[in-house]
């Protein structure tokens, strides 16, 4: 039971990251390979703000995604926007290259070892069946709130309606006088900000290190393949669900826990190639 609850914490990160990937892919048609690096940058920004400027965790929760989101906006303006007309693969390759640069630079500056980030909430909460560190409980709840807020913003607000319309038919939306290129830039910034926010939340759970996002992004790709990128709610459900499955596997047969998500992916590909919530396209 304890492992299952801890699986939910991982699931929270999977959900937030695959959500960001889905939002970016929907609008930009780019699979953002830099997502893991941006997650790491979010955690690093929080750590640097704390150690250099004494900025507390709660302020970093807002500041760090803003900073990294702005960085994302810069990348979109300078590079990504020039390759939208090309095959999806080039976006994948470009963001892969960017991830190598960023992770290489962080490794060079701070080494590949981890730095601890003190948990902002101490103590544990008795859930009846186990005592869970309160901070981890907070991560799960916060991730759920963030995911649902994103879902609401995209599916139920006017901004979201513009966004969805521009995904369907950018030319027509442009004809209505909406600045689509700016909308695209904002979307990328939002997606990157989500990754950074996940990074800040992860900082006290994991060590802050240059490579913390490297393997994570590969797992998140599998999550995205399983869920399909067509639906926002799909990404959220798949993310949390796979975290749970991973946790359960730890109980049943621990050595398989880091491969189980890939096995699930293989099964989904056999049974429902388009992904659980995806449409073929």
């Amino acid at each position: 039971m304890a492992q299952v609850a801890l699986g939910l914490v991982n699931g929270a990160f999977y959900a937030m990251l695959s959500l960001g990937l889905a939002v970016i892919f929907g609008m930009l048609n780019v699979i953002n390979f830099t997502h893991g690096a941006q997650f790491m940058m979010g955690a690093f920004a929080a750590w640097l703000l704390l150690t250099q400027l004494d900025v507390p965790f709660w302020a970093s929760l807002i500041l760090s995604p803003l900073i990294i989101g702005l960085f994302g906006v810069l990348i979109e303006r300078l590079m990504l926007k020039r390759i939208y007309h090309l095959d999806h693969l080039y976006g994948f390759l470009l963001t892969f290259g960017l991830a190598l640069i960023i992770e290489g630079l962080f490794q060079w500056k701070w080494g590949s070892g981890g730095a601890p980030y003190p948990a902002p909430i101490r103590g544990g909460t008795d859930l009846g069946f186990m005592v869970m560190p309160t901070y981890r409980l907070f991560v799960v709840v916060a991730a759920l709130v963030i995911c649902l807020a994103t879902w609401y913003a995209i599916e139920r607000t006017k901004f979201g309606a513009y966004l969805r319309a521009a995904t369907e038919n950018p030319t027509l939306v442009r004809a209505f006088g909406i600045n689509v290129p700016r909308l695209i830039t904002l979307t990328y910034g939002l997606g990157v900000g989500l990754a950074a926010l996940a990074g800040v939340l992860a900082a006290p759970v994991q060590q802050v290190s240059a490579l913390m996002g490297t393997n994570l992004v590969l797992v998140v790709f599998a999550v995205v393949v399983i869920g399909g990128m067509g639906s926002i709610m799909g990404s959220i459900v798949t993310g949390f669900g796979l975290g749970l499955i991973e946790g359960l596997t730890k109980v049943v047969y621990a050595p398989a826990s880091n491969t189980v998500i890939f096995v699930v992916m293989a099964i989904v590909l056999l049974v429902k190639p388009a992904g659980l919530f995806g449409q073929t396209r």
Partner: protein, 315 residues
């Protein structure tokens, strides 16, 4: 004798005298990566499928070779065979699943499978975990006819293996099979409507590519006498993409050129540590932004543009 034949002839002569000029182990490593890059490019350039997990074939073949030669103490020929067949079998399983999705999803699926194989290799007993398989002794080939302890002798063996692989790829591309593959790449629906089973062709191309990547990986294990986790890691998968990209995607000589450039770069920058990653990333960005055809592709186009006005006067 036209320019192309001359070019191939000169390259061949250069390849023959190379081990007396350059360090043979470096050349052999570069040849292994060149074959690996060609195998990757066969899939991308002629089937339009970009695999981001080719390291699983390359690396696993190295482990198969090491297991057969070191643990089972059998002949190196059997080791190479095990590497090729093992990689092909792995390609058959992962390929059958991966071709169910297209484009960017295909890349992500292969990447995910490669990561799964990586985690498997970290834990599986026969791979030696973090240490890998060390000290795979070089045994003579062909029942003692070819002594492989001498680097220069082994170089010619590796060159022969490379030429075999390269020739095989050349044959595939210029066969009816290769033509159908190109038709599927350019317009899958049309090829299907003409009666070709696109999935079967794609799977066959995937298995061939995996088998050749396996040949390259097993040969590398024979040359360097070890098989490690690095060769199955996502970093190696990315490297082979980089090699093909630098040389020129979809050109037949490009990946060879790219592999030599990247391996040389790594040799010189070995002391730079993390900066190798930064430089590799920067090359990715620069090529995608500015030189998408790669070195060979851009040169060919420059050559064509230069010679064009003479043959057909513009008006």
């Amino acid at each position: 004798m036209n320019g192309r034949t001359l070019g191939y002839g000169l390259t061949f002569v250069a390849a023959l005298i190379a081990p007396w000029v350059a360090y043979p182990v470096f050349l052999m490593t570069a040849l292994c990566f060149a074959l690996f890059a060609c195998a990757f490019n066969l899939l991308l350039g002629y089937a339009g499928l970009m695999s981001f997990g080719h390291a699983m074939f390359f690396g696993m073949a190295g482990y198969f070779f090491g297991y057969v030669v070191k643990t089972l103490d059998l002949a190196p020929e059997l080791g190479l065979l095990a590497g090729v067949l093992g990689a092909a079998a792995l390609g058959l399983v992962t390929g059958a699943l991966a071709i169910r999705r297209q484009g960017i999803y295909f890349a992500m699926i292969t990447l995910a499978f490669a990561q799964m194989i990586y985690f498997f290799c970290v834990q599986a007993p026969f791979t030696g975990g973090e240490d890998g398989l060390q000290g795979i002794v070089r045994k003579p080939l062909l029942g003692g006819l070819i002594p492989t302890k001498d680097d220069r002798v082994l170089y010619y063996v590796v060159l022969a293996i490379f030429l075999f692989g390269y020739g095989a790829i050349y044959r595939f591309i210029h066969s009816p099979f290769g033509q159908v593959l190109k038709a599927i790449r350019d317009n899958e629906q049309r090829a299907v409507s003409l009666g070709y089973e696109a999935d079967r062709y794609k799977l066959l191309a995937f298995v061939l590519s995996a088998a050749l990547a396996g040949l390259a990986g097993a040969t590398k294990a024979m040359v360097l006498q070890f098989a490690t986790l690095t060769d199955v890691s996502a970093a190696t998968s990315g490297e082979v993409v980089l090699m093909a990209l630098v040389g020129g995607l979809g050109t037949i000589t490009g990946p060879v050129v790219g592999a030599f450039i990247i391996v040389t770069m790594q040799n010189y920058l070995a002391s730079a540590g993390e900066f190798v990653l930064v430089i590799q990333g920067a090359i990715f960005v620069v090529i995608v932004m500015a030189f998408r055809k790669g070195l060979v592709g851009e040169l060919t186009e420059w050559w064509r543009r230069r010679s064009a006005p003479r043959t057909e006067p513009a008006d």
